[in-house]
Structures are given as structure tokens and as C-alpha cells.
Amino acid sequence: MARPTDMFVWPARLLHWLMAAMILAMLFIGVGMVASVSERHDWLVRVHKPLGIAILLLAVLRLAVRLRHPPPPLPADLPLLQRWAAFASHWLLYALMLALPLVGWAMLSAGGYPVMLSHSLRLPAILPANGVAFAVLRHLHAWLAVLLFVTFLAHLGAALYHGLVRRDGVLGSMVGWRPRR
């Protein structure tokens, strides 16, 4: 019988799957909107900004949950390299889910745009208007998004590897299945 500590706590699991859907959606919305000139462009941009700020808020909450409730330990027989890869990629994912929305907010501030999350809700600028800073941040936003996407793909592949090949309960600890022993 698995002990409760073999799984992530339920708030962590809920945040994980909710944010997975939101972040993946954001990655598609982002590249889709810059490749469109139709009315889709306008409405995707209007979804992109509030959804991105929601991710920022949830990421802060999630980090707090993570620090209070450490995740279940990795299987003892996991090779050192894989352990290290898991550790590094998880912290990279946390860093990116905080950095991307912050860079998005900062770049619109630097571009001198009002940061509108709806027709009436405006966030304050977090940087003074500066065209050069805008350009750097706008490119950074795109490159960090590519890095997030690649890291996510590796994460997805690793999760499938745990679930299909190693069958070591790591996937189950996030899905909510009790590992078979």
C-alpha cells in the first residue's frame, strides 16, 4: 500500500494540470497570434495578456505550495544523471513560468503601451518607456517561449518514459494514481 507521501498533495496536482493546460495554450496562442492578420489576431492578443498574468499569479501560489509541501522522493534506483535532469528541468520550468509573463509585462511597459488586461483593466508600467529596452525584451519573450516549449517537450517525454517504460510511480504521483507495487 502506498503511503500518501508517494504522491504530490492535491493542491500541487491541481495547479500542475491547470497550469499545464494554460501554459501550453499560451504557447500556441503566442505563436498563432503573431502569424495572423485576421480578427483572430486581435482576440488572441486580448486572451494572451490576462491569461499570461493569471499564470504569473498561479506560479507564485504554486511555488509557495511547492516550498511547503516538498514533492515525493524520486525512486531510489533512478540513475544520477536522470535525477539531476529532473531537478534542473523542474526549476527551469518554474523560472520560465515566472519569467515569461514578467518579460511580457515589462516589454509592453517599455514599448510605452498601456498594459490592458481587458477593455478597462490596466496594469501599471513596470519599466519606463524605452524603445531599445522594448526590442530586447520582445526578442527575449520569443526566445524564452521557445526554451519553455523545448523544456516542456522534454518534460512530456520524461513523464511518458516514467509511465510507460520504468513504470516507477513517478507519473502516477502527479496523475493521482497509487503506484502498483
Binding site: 498563432g32 503601451y113 477593455h119 522594448f134
Partner: protein, 362 residues
């Protein structure tokens, strides 16, 4: 025999089953990556995107002028303020329309992608404005000095650019190609009739400037009112012809030295059936108009150092109380202006891979 056969099949399936798992581990991320690439347009090079529009504009301009706007490249910055009349308040909750004083950073320009083009080379002049409300929301609008646009859709706009591409042999657009475009696009007729009569003005101050695209005002009850607008000058029309190539900026300096320049924002309301999604068609002349307030410009600075340089006059930067209509040009303008803005600010930043280098001289 039979049991032997089924036994080896079972073993094969077991082994194949093992490989199948690796297939999933590689295949699922690959499929997601392919879907992402498709969404980004990498697998669909024929799709009309903002970078493609800007690339075509650059080809038509004959060169990339680092740091300059890709369209309406030649212009000057202006500052001033907008004094709302309050008359539009029943139709829109936007603070710009209340009685009061709204700071403005604007820009006059001539159409075209060459920042060194002679002022008389095109009849189209433009006025772009950024109005900043007390609540921090902004209204940005870019208006042109003609009452109708040549085309109604981004696709037609792109085809027009292609038809206007200079022939390397003559340096001019191929007349046959242009004629074929106009024949295929009868909606360009009102614009062409205007262009035939239009003379390049000797002053930015004497032009009217039209929004062309329709927008929606939203009132306190949430009801929407389709409108277009234009800026009507107080300065009297003139028959004068500009002398030289750069008379517009000089004229503006001279006039502003003598006092502020004023326009009235006249907002036209659509009647049911008036097209909001077709900027090639003017609305009937008898439509109700409201004077929403007065624009007063007080100063001008060169665009290379002025406050308008790093502003993207994206027509979809709108305050609460003004919204986009269903005009398909609006999202295309928003996307194209963003692409132009990213290129010119990247050049300002001298980022690798940009056409940066020489700093503008004027």
C-alpha cells in the same frame, strides 16, 4: 504447431509492444512540436502574416531604412492637447470625450516607406495621435488625408503591394500588372477617383484626416454605436504648391511659431446598413455628426529625437468606451504596425541580424 505459432506471435507482440512504448515517448512530443510549428506558420509559407506584409513593403521601398517606420516613414513629431466638448459622452464612456484637457503626442507624415522621399511625391498625408487619459488608458489613432481607402481587406492590400512592386528595369511599377490589379479590384474605384484629383498639400495644417476604418463607441449602458471620424482643420485651405522637397516640416515650424494649430474631431454615426467592414465605401453625406472636441497642436520636433519616435500608433490601442468594429483592416494594421515597430526598435538597439548600422542623419 499451432501452439508454437501463437507462442512466437505472443513473444513478437511483447517485443513490439516494448518498442511501441518508445514510439509514444518520441511520437507524442514530436506531434506537439509539429502542431506548434503549424500554428506558427512554419509549415504554411503561403499564409498572410505581418512579417510578409512588411517584407513586401520593404521591397517596394527599394531599401531598408534602419530605425524608420516601414510605412509613412517621413514625418515629424508634434505635441499638444485635446479639449473634449463633452458632446460625445452620451455615446461613449471614454475619458477623452469628457470636457477636459488630454495631453497628445502626435506625428504628421507622408505615405510611403522612404524617409527621404520628396514631400510632393505623394498626395497622402497622415496624422497619428496618442491621447493619454487621466486613468492611464490611451487612445491611439492613425488617420489619412483621404476619405476612402483603396482596399477593404488585408489580402487585397497585400496584392496591391505586390502589384506596385517596382520593376527592376524601370524602377517603376509595371503598368500592366497595376492595371490588372485594379481591374480585379473594382472596390478601388472611389480611391482612384480621389487620387486623380488630389494635389499634395503645401502644409499638414490644411488637410482633413480620416479614420477610414469604423469603430464602436460604447456608452454607459453598454450599447454600441458604429462610427468613423475625421479631423477637420481650422486653417483655411490653400492652393499653394510646396517648393523643394522638404517643405512640410518647415511649414509646420513656421506656423507653430505664430500660434497653435487646431482641428475639430468630427464623429460620424452609421445608420443601419452602412458598411463598417469596408473602408473603400464612404457613408452617405447626411449622416449625423458630432463635434467631439478640439485638437490643439503647439509644438513640433524632428522625428529622430522627438517623443513620437518610439510610439507605435497601433489603431487598436483603445480606451474603455471605444472598441474595434468588424473592419478586417484593423487587426491587420495592428499586427503590421507591431512588426514594423519591432524591426525599427531592434535597429535602434543595433541588435544582431537587423539592418541597423548607420544612425539616421536628419
Amino acid at each position: 504447431m499451432g501452439s508454437n505459432w501463437s507462442g512466437s506471435l505472443h513473444r513478437m507482440m511483447r517485443r513490439a509492444g516494448g518498442w511501441w512504448r518508445y514510439g509514444v515517448i518520441a511520437g507524442v512530443p514530436l506531434a506537439v512540436a509539429a502542431a506548434w510549428a503549424y500554428t506558427a506558420g512554419w509549415l504554411a509559407p503561403g499564409r498572410l502574416t505581418a512579417p510578409r506584409i512588411i517584407d513586401q513593403i520593404q521591397v517596394n521601398s527599394g531599401s531598408v531604412y534602419p530605425g524608420y517606420r516601414r510605412a509613412h516613414a517621413k514625418g515629424v513629431c508634434v505635441i499638444g492637447h485635446f479639449v473634449g466638448s463633452g458632446a460625445l459622452q452620451p455615446y461613449s464612456t471614454a475619458q477623452v470625450f469628457m470636457q477636459g484637457d488630454i495631453p497628445v503626442v502626435g506625428r504628421f507624415a507622408i505615405a510611403g516607406g522612404n524617409p527621404y522621399a520628396p514631400d510632393g511625391s505623394v498626395p497622402v498625408r497622415s496624422m497619428a495621435l496618442r491621447l493619454t487619459q487621466p486613468n492611464g488608458q490611451q487612445w491611439r489613432t492613425g488617420m489619412n488625408s483621404m476619405p476612402v481607402n483603396a482596399v477593404a481587406t488585408p489580402q487585397a492590400f497585400f496584392e496591391q503591394l505586390q502589384a506596385q512592386q517596382p520593376d527592376p528595369a524601370t524602377g517603376k511599377p509595371d503598368p500592366a500588372r497595376l492595371a490588372a490589379f485594379f481591374a480585379a479590384h473594382p472596390e478601388t474605384a472611389p480611391f482612384r477617383a480621389w487620387a486623380k484629383m488630389a494635389r499634395p498639400s503645401a502644409s499638414f495644417a490644411t488637410n482633413s484626416y480620416w479614420s477610414l476604418n469604423a469603430f464602436e463607441l460604447v456608452d454607459a449602458q453598454g450599447a454600441k454605436h458604429a462610427v468613423r471620424w475625421r479631423m477637420v482643420p481650422e486653417s483655411a485651405a490653400e492652393d499653394a504648391k510646396g517648393q523643394g522637397d522638404n517643405y512640410l516640416a518647415a511649414d509646420l515650424v513656421q506656423r507653430l511659431a505664430a500660434g497653435p494649430l487646431r482641428w475639430h474631431l468630427r464623429v460620424t454615426f452609421a445608420e443601419p446598413g452602412d458598411p463598417t467592414a469596408d473602408a473603400t465605401k464612404a457613408w452617405p453625406a447626411d449622416r449625423r455628426e458630432i463635434d467631439a472636441g478640439m485638437l490643439e497642436l503647439t509644438g513640433t520636433t524632428p522625428q529622430d529625437s522627438g517623443a513620437c519616435r518610439d510610439i507605435n500608433y497601433d489603431p487598436l490601442v483603445l480606451p474603455d468606451g471605444i472598441q474595434a468594429s468588424d473592419d478586417p483592416l484593423l487587426p491587420a494594421r495592428s499586427a503590421a504596425y507591431a512588426a514594423s515597430y519591432l524591426r525599427r526598435t531592434s535597429e535602434e538597439a543595433h541588435l544582431p541580424g537587423t539592418a541597423a548600422g548607420k544612425k539616421e542623419t536628419r
